[in-house]
Each structure stands twice: as C-alpha cells, then as structure tokens.
Amino acid sequence: METNPAFSNYMDRYLDYPGHWDSPSKCGLKLVKRKDGKTLAIATEIYRQNPGTPVTEVVAPLATRILKTNAEKPDNFIFIEHTPDLRSKLTFYGETFDLVEFDWNGENFSNPVWTRLTKEQVDRMMEE
C-alpha cells in the first residue's frame, strides 16, 4: 500500500487540526479561489501520515475551522473531501471525492451530507 499521498492537484499543503479528544491530526489541503468569488476547499485524508482522527469523522468542525481561518462566508464556501488512491491490492483505497454540505447555525457547520463526485466534476468545479 502506498504510504505517502503526495502533493497533487488536489493537495498543496498540510493542515494540522484537533481530532477526537484533542488528538493531534493532519490532513492535506488545497484552497481554490474561484472566478465566481467562492472558495473551494479540498481536504485530503492522508492515512498513515495522519496521526489522529480521519477527516470524515471530524468533517464539520474541520470545515468550520478552515472557513474561519480563511475568513470566508458559509454561502461562499464549498467543501470537498478527498481520499487519494493508495494503490492498494484492496479496492477500498481508491481515489474518491465527495462534496460535503452542512447546516450552518451562525457559528458552526453541522449535519454533514456527502455526495460522491467524479474527478472530472471536481476539476470543473475548480475552474468555475
């Protein structure tokens, strides 16, 4: 299994975040300022390089953190969760992209809902 998801078109930096019970956690991150003014955030699960909680399990607080750090408004913020292809013999570690939509209570995101996207759809969303 590939252990080191490389920087790619969907990940150009690391982000440290607190996971469950404050466990130090890390994901890949790419922020795209789109032509329409919206910010597209892609958070990448980096598996063994992530010492703590996976992105999926803390996706709402993680998205909130990214939103606030970048002083965005929720309406102008699009969040995509990415898992890279680990080239495993097993089929569960292929590349996936999910658009994650949340409820917003004025302070935080909650109630994530994931919608599977193709790579082509993500590429188009980055260009919009």
Binding site: Y47, R48, F92
Partner: protein, 455 residues
C-alpha cells in the same frame, strides 16, 4: 505497591531474602479499598464455538491497580454478576461494541446505589461520548503508569470525568506482566480442557485496514514490547497454550525473528494473527510453538493459496477469517470464495459480516454514503447486517452468511475440525514433554456450568 513491582521483586530476589518476606507481607496486608471490576456479557454468534476465553483487557488493567486495592473481578460471560453495594468503586472493562449497552446498564444500576463507576477498554474508547452518559469517569488510552492517580483522585473524591491518554502511549518497558490472578481460572475450562490464555507482545499497527479501528485505538505506529519483558511474562504464565492477540506479528521482521527465537526455550504453544510469509520467519515461528494462525482470506488469489500452503509446510494450521458483505463481493463472489476455502484446505474458518465499527474506514465510507440503517450496538456482533450492502439486500447477505457456515462445515463439523487441531497441539506437547492431561474433576463442567454430555 503495584502488582508489577511485586512480581519484579519476586523475580529478582532470592527466595530467602528478607525483602522477599517484606514483599509477601505487603501482599497479605489488609486491603483498604474494594474495586469491583466487571467484564460485561455479550451474545455470541450462534455459529461460533461455545468457548469463552479469559479476557485480556481486565488483567492488563488489574496489573496497574494499586496494591492496597482489593480487586473482585466478574466476567459475566462465565458467571452471574450480583450487583450490590459491597464495592467501594466500580470499573467496567469493555472490548466489544456488543458489550457497551450491557456495560451501561450495569453502570446505571451501580450508580443508582451511589457507587462511582469508571469505564475503560477498547469499546469505551470507540463509544466514549455515549459511555460518558453512564459513567462518573472514563479512561481513554493505555493504563500503564496512570492508575495510581485515578485511584488517588477517587479517594479524594476528585475523580475526573475523563482521563485522556489516547495520544500518549506509555513507555513500553512499563507494560506487563498482566495480573491473571484476578481470574477464577476454573471457569475457563470446557469439559476438563483449559482454554488458551491471552497475551500480547506489541501494540499499535502500521496498517489502516478497512474494518479495523486499531489506528484510532493504538496509534498508527508499531510499538513492540522489549523481548526480555515478553519472555519474563511468558515464563510466569502457568498455561502452556496461548493466544498472542497482537494485531499482526508481521510488522517488523527483525523483532519478529528475535521474539520467536526467545520463545523457543519456553515451549509454549500458541495461536496468533498473521505471521510474515518469509521462510526464515515461519521456520522460527514453528520452532517457537506456532499452533495455528488467523489469516484473513479476502480473495481467491494465488497469493492466498500459497500463503496457506506455506503455513501448512511448516506445520502451522490456519483458521481463515472471512469477512462477508464488502463492496467488491457479489453473491457469486461469495459462493466462489467458499468453494475456494474448501479447495485450499483451511483447518478452520470463521465467517463474519462486515460491521462498521466507529472509527474505522468502513464506518467512514458507509456513513458518507448514508448506508448505515441500524445503530443498535447490540447488533454490531459481526453476525447481523446493519448497513445496505452494495450488491444485494441485507436479507440476502444474511442468507449467504449462513450458507457460508453451513457449506464450509457440511462434510466435517466445526467441533471435529477443532478436535483435529487440539490433537495436533497435543501431539506437539507430548513430543516436547509439555503435555498436561485434561482435568478429570472438570470433565462434566463447561465454563462453570455442569453438563451432562461429557464426551
């Protein structure tokens, strides 16, 4: 004084030592506190063997309990729990998700009697937020070097709501020996045959396997125990048959080889998860007493076929562990897989249905796809379908699960295959002089209960 320190003193001091005497005096001094430690019951899969193994978490925890605390342990799987106000403090140790609801129920009853309850163990960590609703305190992480403080806080009526050591694994030198003295050992016999004792030589895992939560529980690194500490604990164990419960022994070749070399003189016979498929390693494993291994069989590849053959070449039997309901399995795949298992001559097979335990990739993936329809943790026993499989209905997957058990054991029942395995280990033990006959006084007893059929 810790159980561990006491053991260490007994080990290093000569029998006639005055310090040894002091140690024995300390051992017998009146205990100041009674700690009721409970391992909640769960419903076993109907297809599995009836065997109940002595639990591992509670004995590891018990080794860290201060010496002036009397531990009264109940494993509800083999004996009835009487809930009364005799205990000063109550601990509930939970390993499986199917234990948590029973654990919460027990805690609620003790708390109604005014007793404080602390939870620990693997499934406490997996279900921490929910467990807090039934607890005075929860302990997250590994106990070594941490329980003195917990009991001190209890004594001062200052028990913390959470003891969180999830990201702070202890020094591996501190681990063990476990305190197996808390077990009522006669309860772990089936018709005179003693069950294996559980033991661990390492913690953590470098892999991120789809159905497994070890990355969350034990960290993402492999943390082997020092070999001398492992040998020390093994040599103190009075049971010749063991289950080495490490997630995988195949994580560090050099350590694995050193471990097996060190184990050879002990002449133990053991079961474990995967061993590396290098000839040199398998050869040492066989010499060190490898009896049989659990090997995940996830496809019908030559890789699996060769791996099973390799184990057999070294006289190591194989119990296949087969997970059903994965997204890459159609009905046809499952049926072909079962045919394959018969073809490759597995010694035993255990079939389970994927259970998306919290903090696993399986859980994350199914959650994202909104495919989990049942959140009753009692149903997360790996024999019930709690999510929508990709290629069939939940009902059809359940049928295939039963079909798998029935088909694999059609010509030779599970009890017979298990009997064959026991014969193999007995032959090895007779060969090296370690064989202990079954206990005649327990031939009509199975896990503490009288049975009529003693064959």
């Amino acid at each position: 004084m810790h159980y561990r320190i006491k053991k260490e003193l007994n080990r290093i001091l000569p029998a006639e030592s005055c310090f040894k005497e002091t140690s024995m005096m300390l051992k017998t001094k009146p205990r100041e506190m009674k700690f009721k430690l409970i391992y909640p019951r769960w419903e076993k899969l109907e297809e599995q063997t009836i065997f109940n193994l002595p639990p591992h978490g509670p004995v590891v925890m018990a080794a860290e309990v201060p010496e002036d605390v009397e531990i009264d342990f109940t494993d509800e799987n083999v004996e009835a729990l009487i809930i009364d106000d005799n205990a000063d403090f109550v601990g509930i140790s939970m390993m499986l998700t199917t234990q948590v609801k029973r654990g919460w129920e027990i805690a609620d009853q003790y708390r109604a009697l005014g007793r404080k309850v602390i939870f620990g163990g693997i499934s406490t960590m997996l279900h921490a937020e929910e467990t807090m609703l039934h607890a005075d305190s929860i302990f997250l992480g590994e106990v070594e070097g941490r329980l003195e403080q917990v009991f001190e806080d209890f004594r001062k009526n200052d028990l913390k709501e959470i003891y969180n050591f999830l990201s702070k694994p202890p020094d591996m030198n501190l681990i063990g020996p476990a305190n197996r003295d808390i077990l009522r050992k006669d309860l772990y016999y089936h018709k005179g045959f003693r069950m294996v004792d559980l033991f661990h030589a390492s913690r953590g895992c470098i892999y991120d396997c789809y159905p497994c939560a070890v990355r969350y529980l034990g960290g993402r690194g492999f943390r082997p125990r020092p070999i001398d500490r492992v040998v020390e604990e093994l040599s103190q164990m009075d049971n010749n048959r063991l289950f080495i419960v490490d997630n995988s022994l195949a994580l560090d070749t050099e350590w694995e080889k050193e471990l097996f070399k060190a184990m050879i003189p002990l002449k133990k016979k053991w079961v474990s998860h995967t061993i590396e498929d290098k000839d040199e390693v398998l050869n040492l494993a066989a010499q060190a007493g490898a009896w049989y291994v659990y090997q995940a069989v996830f496809d019908r590849s030559d890789y699996i076929r060769n791996r099973i053959r390799q184990y057999h070449d070294y006289g190591i039997a194989v119990e296949g562990t087969i997970l059903l309901g994965l997204d890459n399995q159609t009905e046809d795949d499952i049926k072909r897989l079962i045919d394959f298992l018969l073809e490759i001559d597995l010694d035993l097979a255990e079939f389970t249905i994927l259970a998306p335990f919290p903090h696993t990739k399986a859980y994350s993936d199914l959650l994202k796809q909104n495919r989990i329809f049942d959140k009753d943790w009692n149903h997360y026993n790996a024999g019930k379908v709690v999510y929508y499989p990709k290629h069939m209905s939940p009902a059809r997957l359940t049928e295939l699960y039963h079909y798998a058990w029935d088909t694999f054991y059609k010509d030779e029942p599970q009890t017979m295959k298990m009997f064959n395995l026991i014969n193999k280990v007995m032959a090895k033990e007779i060969g090296d002089g370690t064989y202990t006959p079954r206990r005649r006084d327990l031939t009509d007893v199975s896990f503490g209960k009288k049975v009529t059929n003693i064959v």
